[in-house]
């Protein structure tokens, strides 16, 4: 596998070697793990907890560095920095939890406060380190925005191991995680240990976040948890598909980000990975079948076309036999054309050149539409107490959303005197 990756990297013209291939593999695996874990964090509404967590790692990193330097060992090795990061990160999470539970401070304010204050402590410690005679914070700055260029093969192996462990844990507890994410009360009613599963989820988030610091940097690592999961959510409602998609998106984004960062000058890895993930999200936002913008606009256009088709029928009903210019009864543009296509498809109108005329079926349908509208008008005035001067607007909007059964029930309710009025209205 390493050989294949190295070959791919070489084809991009990078200065690839075994080391780069290992780094790429490790980061990709981490992207996969972050995607999968992120799905559950998002569904459990814990996405931004990870933001507090990742910012809260900075003081831990600095303290670990200071301690290690004080005892004379290398303060920049990940084996020293990551436990420190995890320690303050978890402390930050616990404080968010405590503030939300025990005080009137809401969760969003707790997250924001912990995030900024812990990061502030980290910034102060960084400036202390900079001021120390032994201080060289070069290795620490890399953790802010991520720099895989300086990563060793051993570090990448560590990432890979963490990632694989997280993926295995999610696979084993998949059913329980899903139950807790969607309905924790039901889960606890059927005997799922909700607290334990939440603890598992948060530990996975901590593991992925802390090891992701190396690749993406602590300012942006939260994006690796959020973006692939949110992108996968756009495409599907099924949990299993979502997890697989998020894994693929996360892996792809990491891969593209690392490649771009190793190939282009002055391109930190973290932002590249996040931008790649952002592009994947954008694709989903535009093209996803049910939540995408294109599909949404399409649905809106179809509804508008239906409404305009109904309007056209009613205005043609004024003189059912005479052809009228299309421009008078239908608006120009796409919506008008869609409405015309709908009317012709249902055989309700005939179009001759620029003139349009009702067919006999169309006339019947138009009478029905007119009747529905009048019924509603009546209903709104007598039952919903809408002022008569306002009723035309409401009736206009509402007649398109009722189905025939409701109309039938309305007719029964409004009984004799309404029927007389409707007949009178139609005659007039």
């Amino acid at each position: 596998m390493m050989a294949v990756l190295a070959a791919i990297l070489d084809s991009f013209g990078g200065r690839a070697g075994h080391n780069t291939a290992v780094v790429l593999a490790g980061t990709m695996l981490l992207g996969v793990a972050a995607g999968v874990v992120g799905v559950f964090a998002m569904l459990r509404r814990r996405s931004l907890m990870a933001d507090a967590l990742s910012h809260a790692t900075l003081p831990g990193i600095c303290l670990a560095f200071l301690l290690a330097t004080a005892v004379g060992s290398d303060g920049r090795s990940l084996a020293v920095l990551l436990p420190g990061a995890a320690a303050t990160g978890v402390a930050g999470l616990l404080i968010v939890n405590w503030l939300t539970r025990a005080t009137r401070i809401s969760e969003d304010a707790a997250i924001g406060a912990v995030l900024s204050v812990f990061f502030g402590v980290g910034v102060v410690l960084l400036s202390v380190i900079q001021a120390l005679p032994t201080g060289n914070q070069g290795g620490l700055k890399g953790l802010l925005f991520g720099q895989t260029a300086t990563m060793h093969a051993a570090d990448a192996m560590l990432l890979g191991v963490v990632a694989i462990a997280s993926i295995i844990a999610v696979t084993l507890a998949f059913k329980q995680l899903g139950l807790v994410a969607f309905n924790d009360e039901f889960a606890s009613a059927i005997g799922v240990p909700v607290r334990a599963i939440d603890l598992l989820l948060m530990s996975l988030v901590v593991m992925v976040t802390v090891s992701g610091l190396v690749a993406v940097g602590l300012v942006l690592v939260v994006a690796m948890l959020i973006i692939p999961a949110a992108a996968a959510r756009l495409w599907t409602d099924r949990l299993r598909t979502m997890a697989v998609l998020a894994a693929v998106f996360g892996g792809t984004a990491s891969c593209l980000g690392v490649l771009a960062s190793s190939r282009l000058d002055r391109t930190p890895t973290g932002p590249s990975i996040v931008l790649a993930a952002g592009c994947i999200f954008l694709l989903g936002m535009i093209g996803a079948p049910r939540r995408g913008v294109v599909a949404g606009l399409g649905r809106q256009a179809l509804v508008a076309a239906r409404v305009h088709a109904d309007h056209a029928l009613r205005s043609l009903l004024a003189s059912p036999q005479d052809p009228r210019p299309i421009g008078v009864v239908l608006p120009p543009g796409l919506i008008g054309r869609l409405a015309r296509a709908r009317l012709r498809r249902l055989g309700l109108v005939r179009v001759n050149g620029s003139m349009i005329v009702l067919t006999p079926e169309g006339e019947a349908e138009a009478r029905l539409a007119e009747r529905r509208r009048r019924l509603w008008e009546r209903y709104l005035v007598t039952h919903a107490e809408v002022a008569p001067s306002h009723v035309d607007i409401s009736a206009d909007a509402i007649e398109h959303v009722v189905d025939p059964e409701i109309v039938a029930r309305l007719e029964a309710e409004l009984a004799a005197d309404d029927a007389r009025r409707v007949r009178g209205g139609a005659d007039a």
Binding site: G112, S116, L144, L264
Partner: protein, 439 residues
Amino acid sequence: MNEGVYGFVSIDLPPLLAGTLACVTCAILGNYLVLRRMSLMGDAISHSVLPGLVIAFMLSGSRDPLPMFVGATIAGLFTVGLVELLRRYARVEPGAAMGVVFSVMFAMGVLLLERGAGRQVDLDADCVLNGVMETMIWFPPEEAGSLARWSTWVSLPRQVWTLGVVLLVVLAAVGMLFKELRIVAFDPGLATSQGFHAGLLNTLLMVLVACATVASFEAVGSILVIAMLICPAASARMLTDRLWVQVVLSVVLAAAAGITGYLLGAYAPTLLGLPAAVSASGMITVVAGVIMLLSVLFAPSHGTVARRFRRVRMSLRVAREDLLASLYRAEESGAAARAVASRPVDAIVLRRAIARGQVRLANGVPALTDRGRDVARGIVRSHRLWESYLVERGGLAPDHVHGTAMRLEHLTDSASGARFEPPQPDSPTDPHARPIPPR
């Protein structure tokens, strides 16, 4: 001016002013974000103005403040709009929607900076996070009395003036729209039904937040902006229930954090023997955090310590009342009172009852005093009235009401302190045929 004063005025005064102005401006707006549970919108905006700044710089080709201000404000509003779009139309979960937007925008900003623009703009990602407080220096004329002239102050660094103007704008907007903003903050639905356009006010709030963010973070960095949007307002919210008090308190706390934090950052390290000053904006953030922690712990009525204290006091009262009631029942049935102090807490409860003159010890065995008997009679009366009520009106079985009555007998009116009494029962005795003592 002597040298020390001149040094302070030229090196410390500009960042001190900028820091304090930024803190106050953000804190005022933060009140509304915190109340509307939109604190993280401030976080999102302060991250995502970065690409706006950089693009404005690239288009205008200068560090002229106006284009950058416009660019960053547009970026901020774009963020708000995009988050809303994702939430409403793509039905992305709100937290995730915010996370997607701000991380992508920030990533774009960092890349733009690193790949070119940063070279000329002399901004880097680091100074976006931490600000450039330390580099703000001012050289007023050195002769004595120059500080008394207005023209001297005009030459203060641009960031200070920008912040001053933004603070005035924020004050004016919040002052004029105080009532409207308050109703929108607490109940947007009610606001709309009363004819205020909640959405419009919300947009205005976001514009103000974006302006405040842009003006501040150029001087003090985005981390301090986030801290100041949240910490002072959250601290003030712990201390009061009135909005205007909360706003004033948050301003005071923010100014205190700004001044103390800056001075600590500038002077404390030298006192501790460190060679250089530590990051001022980091230090202000830390001070704001400490203030928030203190108010969370020690706020008079909402603080966790006060709440714990009230709980302990109430459980001691309940235990003392239970002791009095059990002594009363023992007297009533003629049984000998037993020594009640078996747990350590019982000893405390007994001591408190003795201190109040409600119980005395006769040969080591507790007995009611006259005053104690009056109180105990009230408790037992309340207990039996509740039992009757629960059986007669509540339809419960007589052997199921004791536990509930044990809790209800301690209910008192919080204003007068009088024991709460259920309506008089039909029968003169309780469901267990025991007499209900007179009041």
